[in-house]
Symmetry: C2
Subunit: 313 residues, 2 copies
């Protein structure tokens, strides 16, 4: 069930030539606030502005020649739509993107800009899946799930590998937890690259399906997900949950106000633009200050694609 | 009148241990838009969030032991208030900061946080100067002007030295142009470190005193300065104007809408937070695209201290 060390390593070698080795930022002020050492892996500076580029590039490369010829398809209104479009373009593959008709124009433009072929659907999950199925059967394109796909998971883990190659003595790595691809990949990286680094997820109370899933031992879902961290509204899947269940130590839940406050700290003090989802791990560290005091903590800043017209401050 | 190469070099050695060697960012997308190669020297990541730290640290170090004991004083509601406070703290010197009574609370807090001793004055230039004079005569503190001071100018030039050490073949370096300290220091750096790199200023039409001063050959002033680039509302002085007059090739003026659009491009595409002033050089490059096409251009991103409650988008 759990991918092997070799799979993790070969994914890293496969992904590296196609992505930015993003910088690791530190902030004396935030270290002072947390009374810990924080290392921010800045995937907001990744191509298309988020870590999702990594998983997309890994998944497409794993396809056969014939599969590549037929193209790939996904449904997403968020970062994965852009990631799959750009990754496919880089690899000379067609990308069909199903987007809900009410997706913001700026997101549609971004996907188009990266060469994605957009099909609009009614804005329900059922309609999106149906449209993706139709495209699959008509074109022979391979469906790539944004988070519940082993090659996507292995790709997302390469951010943590880069971080651990620079800072091998981290006590913890924290990631935001939405669909589960990033944290599953990160947990695999820490598991095989270190003997002590633990991986912890940060999750909004408003979308705490993963926290409940770890409690119950089976995949729980969000009935509603009314969180500002729009990247974290999705549910876990059968590919990533077993990895998370086995390798993730803990999930810390945070309030909406804590997310906004942490986001504001990052913007004002680090002078970088990060999505609300990216602020969830810092919110978790500040919430559990006694637990994290004096530890060395890696934080994956997942992305920086925000709507400047619609900021929480 | 013009400082020597040795003065420029020794300032660099004096300042370096006390400041961050800020990174140089590039963006394929912005290069594509400008049809040129742009190298952004990110002083928004400098200590206290702006290049002004460099000039403050250089100026204080040039004081005698007795002068240091008596402290330094300036009047500023902007970045130099924070810069002088933090630089003085690092060097174990008292900093008296005269701030207008209507300065935003957040700026007062920042100065206090860096250990500056605030005196409030009526919000006129005359009142600020009078208060600074009073502090000088009562405490013996040395007045440090934010931009019209040779040691400040030499300190500000160290950002360009760092940039040119990394990218020695730049055709141009552009800086925003307000009080004139940054561009004067940058022009000195380019003059002594390269044989071909030209320095160009970006200035809002709304505060084009420097453009008019270069035309007339004497210091002109702004009657009003109704620009979003709040760091650029100040006037030139007798220390920096001669350097600018001799070494700056050209000043390009830009409209307010061009500044906001360039700022938005930097935020959205580079995922970094920059002040409106910092967007002026990019606005100038995009405005004079034919002139800059295919050139290698350094841009000093002057700072990242913005009020998130009061954004232009």
């Amino acid at each position: 069930m759990i991918p092997s060390k070799e799979e993790v390593t070969t994914a890293y070698n496969r992904v590296s030539p196609f992505v930015h080795k993003t910088p690791v930022f530190t902030s004396n002020l935030l270290n002072g606030l947390a009374e810990a050492e924080l290392y921010f892996k800045c995937e907001n500076f990744q191509k298309m502005g988020a870590f999702k580029m990594r998983g997309a590039i890994n998944a497409i490369q794993q396809l056969s020649k014939d599969q590549k010829k037929a193209g790939v398809v996904t449904h997403s209104s968020g970062n994965f739509a852009q990631a799959l479009s750009l990754a496919a373009k880089n690899l000379g593959v067609k990308a069909y993107i199903v987007m809900p008709s009410n997706a913001p124009q700026v997101k549609k433009e971004a996907v188009k800009g990266y060469g994605g072929i957009i099909t609009e659907s009614q804005p329900t999950l059922a309609a999106r899946e149906q449209e993706a199925n139709r495209i699959q059967s008509e074109t022979g394109a391979t469906f790539i799930h944004p988070s519940n796909n082993t090659d996507v998971i292995l790709g997302q883990g390469t951010a943590a590998i880069e971080l651990l190659k620079k800072h091998s003595d981290l006590d913890y790595i924290l990631t935001p937890l939405g669909g589960g691809g990033l944290i599953a990949g990160t947990a695999l990286a820490a598991h095989y690259m270190t003997s002590t680094c633990k991986v912890i997820g940060g999750e909004p109370f408003e979308a705490d399906d993963a926290w409940r899933s770890l409690q119950s031992g089976k995949i729980e879902t969000n009935e509603t997900a009314n969180t500002i961290a729009d990247g974290l509204r999705t549910n876990l899947g059968d590919k990533n949950f077993p990895i998370i269940n086995e390798l993730v130590t803990e999930i810390i839940r945070v309030e909406e106000a804590e997310i906004t406050a942490a986001m504001r700290l990052i913007w004002e003090r680090m002078k970088i633009i990060v999505e609300p989802s990216s602020a969830v791990p810092l919110a978790a560290v500040l919430k559990k200050k006694d637990f994290f005091r004096n530890k060395k903590i890696g934080i994956i800043i997942s992305g920086g694609n925000v709507d400047l017209e619609n900021l929480p401050f």
